[in-house]
């Protein structure tokens, strides 16, 4: 066995996979990766199942060290500077750390969460078929808490296969929502304000909820409703009128009116929205939301087949320049612009 040592890590980093389902009726929230597309990409690069557990790394830097043998990892999600054995590592590529080599990651830029997948996956004891950390409930494996410096993962030694790369669509545009379930607790004027306003994710956000800064949304009948069930992406409006989007570690029930719900296909994009970057919401129909979900799931499933060999580990300025010039500008709201994904 090789080991991957967490030499240094900031707060808000933890092991996450596709999530823990089946016990929301007992108050157990699903948790799981905030950005599942990036989790799937990182896993695909090292040959793991797309929703296998990986290390979700929050906005701060981190350093990992390979011990007792070589370890292959891959990095996806929020871009950040990465260096291994004095070589610059690109996002969305795999890299093999030889015995004693360090992988040093800087601060996230233009996103919040990066995913470090390890070839062979993370060993642990699943609970409800998941290793995901839920810190409040003391769940998760191998560590039932956010990662700390000194934590160790026992991992498979890296294989002899070539390093891999993957190109991902860059998604942009408004964050799409389905109105409800309690949009009738708000006047038409307030709903228009919600959909027309510029919003920013507050710096006080976390895996439980993203607080939004923007116009104040007032209720028709006050802010207390009898608690009912929540989903990932529920947008609840508490008494102060500043909406909170419920994220992966949300409470399973909540007592504030929910004006709208972020569609599943856009949840990861909202999760990666940097604090202070303005964005808008856009209401879509149920049919459109579900069509987007099908496309999103097709995209996730397609990732292992989209991985290609990294041509050369040498720094190739021409290739990089060409890639930049090509600049795949795609729109999240127009799926025909997604690379290799055809609408069904």
């Amino acid at each position: 066995m090789s080991t991957l040592v967490v030499s240094q890590i900031g707060p808000a980093s933890s092991v996450q996979d596709g999530g823990r389902f089946g016990a929301q009726r007992y108050g157990l929230t699903p948790s799981g990766a905030m950005d599942k597309l990036s989790l799937a990409a990182a896993n695909s690069l090292v040959g793991n199942a797309v929703m296998a557990a990986a290390i979700e790394i929050g906005p701060f830097g981190a350093t990992f060290t390979a011990k007792d043998g070589p370890v292959r990892v891959a990095l996806s999600g929020a871009p950040r500077p990465a260096e291994a054995a004095k070589r610059q590592i690109e996002m969305n590529t795999s890299v093999t750390l030889n015995e004693g080599e360090k992988l040093t990651l800087g601060f996230a830029r233009g996103g919040s969460f990066s995913y470090l997948a390890i070839e062979g996956g993370i060993a642990g004891e699943p609970m409800f078929d998941s290793l995901s950390v839920n810190a409040r409930a003391g769940l998760g494996s191998p560590y039932p808490r956010p990662l700390q410096s000194g934590d160790v993962f026992e991992v498979a030694p890296a294989g002899q296969t070539p390093e891999m790369q993957i190109e991902l669509p860059k998604l942009s545009g408004a964050i799409r929502v389905v109105m409800g379930p309690q949009d009738d607790e708000f006047s038409d004027e307030m709903k228009a304000l919600f959909l027309g306003g510029n919003w920013m994710v507050s710096a006080t956000s976390d895996r439980m909820g993203y607080r939004l800064e923007g116009p104040v949304i007032r209720h028709l009948h006050g802010h207390n409703i009898v608690s009912d069930g929540t989903v990932e992406g529920s947008i609840q409006v508490p008494g102060n009128g500043s909406p909170i989007v419920l994220m992966s570690d949300r409470g399973t029930s909540g007592g504030y009116p929910k004006i709208a719900t972020v569609i599943s296909a856009d949840f990861g994009r909202l999760a990666q929205m940097p604090a202070g970057t303005p964005f808008r919401f856009k209401a879509v129909s149920m049919a459109e939301a579900q069509a987007e979900l099908r496309r999103y799931k097709d995209l996730l499933r397609s990732l292992p087949g989209r991985v290609t060999e990294l041509a050369s580990s040498d720094f190739n300025i021409d290739a990089l320049f060409t890639a930049n010039v090509a600049g795949h500008a795609v729109s999240a709201t127009d799926v025909t612009t997604w690379l290799g994904v055809t609408p069904d």
């Binding site: 929301q24 108050g27 009898v226 979900l293």
Partner: protein, 254 residues
């Protein structure tokens, strides 16, 4: 039952009116029976939950009962939104689950002292003695209306109206595991340590949620619960037994 909003929403006229189907995003439907805390609505929620479990409709991934609504998570790739809605409405028309199927539990509570730091204040606010507060609390038969917020946090309906009082002005940010508390018209059992805005009457060694125990979650929505008082010494013994995986709560015959 206090229904301050009932008139406002005009929902009390027909207790068996069809529920409202509300979209909760692209993969869940909220089946709303009432907007208030309402005994009949809660029974209808639990009845639909049972009916759905029995019907085993392909595409439903899990259900979350609450006081007044059932959240139904589904995979839209397997079942269509409209088709599921129609099934939910049809199954909501059924009768309430018979009481004979209800599981009943007796749960020990160590009231007052350091385990129930609000007991004295509750007694003062209600102008009765702490013993009378305990007597009223153990006299009740409660139903698990819902479990939510954090793992195992059980909201119980059926609190004696003479014990109903507003929640604390300032919720406590840290309360210990196993607290038994009252808030508004409810009483509840909080399994894990965490924040709580209710009045703490005591603690139980019963764990509604415990890893590596069978079952991991002890109480189910719809279960009936009654409490009995134990002293500090018994509580300490029960805590050790619970640590070893014992259930502590007694299942009693219906």
């Amino acid at each position: 039952m206090r229904d301050t909003n009932a008139d406002h929403f005009g929902l009390m006229a027909d207790p068996f009116a069809p529920p409202r189907l509300l979209p909760s995003g692209d993969s869940a439907i909220t089946v709303e029976f009432s907007r208030t805390i309402d005994e009949t609505a809660n029974r209808r929620v639990l009845a639909l939950d049972h009916a759905l479990a029995a019907a085993a409709i392909e595409g439903i991934t899990e259900t979350v009962p609450t006081y007044r609504s059932l959240l139904v998570h589904y995979d839209p790739g397997v079942i269509d939104h409209e088709a599921l809605g129609a099934r939910l409405l049809a199954l909501s028309a059924g009768s309430l689950a018979p009481d004979s199927e209800v599981r009943r539990w007796r749960v020990p509570v160590c009231y007052g002292g350091e385990n129930g730091i609000d007991l004295e204040d509750v007694a003062k606010a209600l102008s009765i003695t702490p013993d009378e507060v305990v007597a009223r609390h153990v006299a009740g038969t409660y139903r698990v209306a819902m479990i939510g917020f954090t793992p195992g946090w059980s909201y119980l309906s059926g609190l004696d109206p003479r014990l109903q009082m507003s929640r604390r002005q300032n919720p406590r940010l840290a309360t210990p595991a196993g607290i038994v508390a009252i808030g508004g018209i409810q009483t509840g059992i909080q399994c894990l340590a965490g924040p709580c805005g209710w009045h703490l009457l005591g603690r139980t060694a019963m764990r509604t949620f415990q890893l590596h125990r069978e079952p991991t979650f002890l109480l189910e929505p719809g279960d009936e619960v009654s409490f009995y008082a134990v002293d500090v010494k018994t509580f300490a013994e029960q805590e050790r037994a619970a640590e070893g995986g014992e259930l502590i709560a007694e299942r009693v015959a219906a």
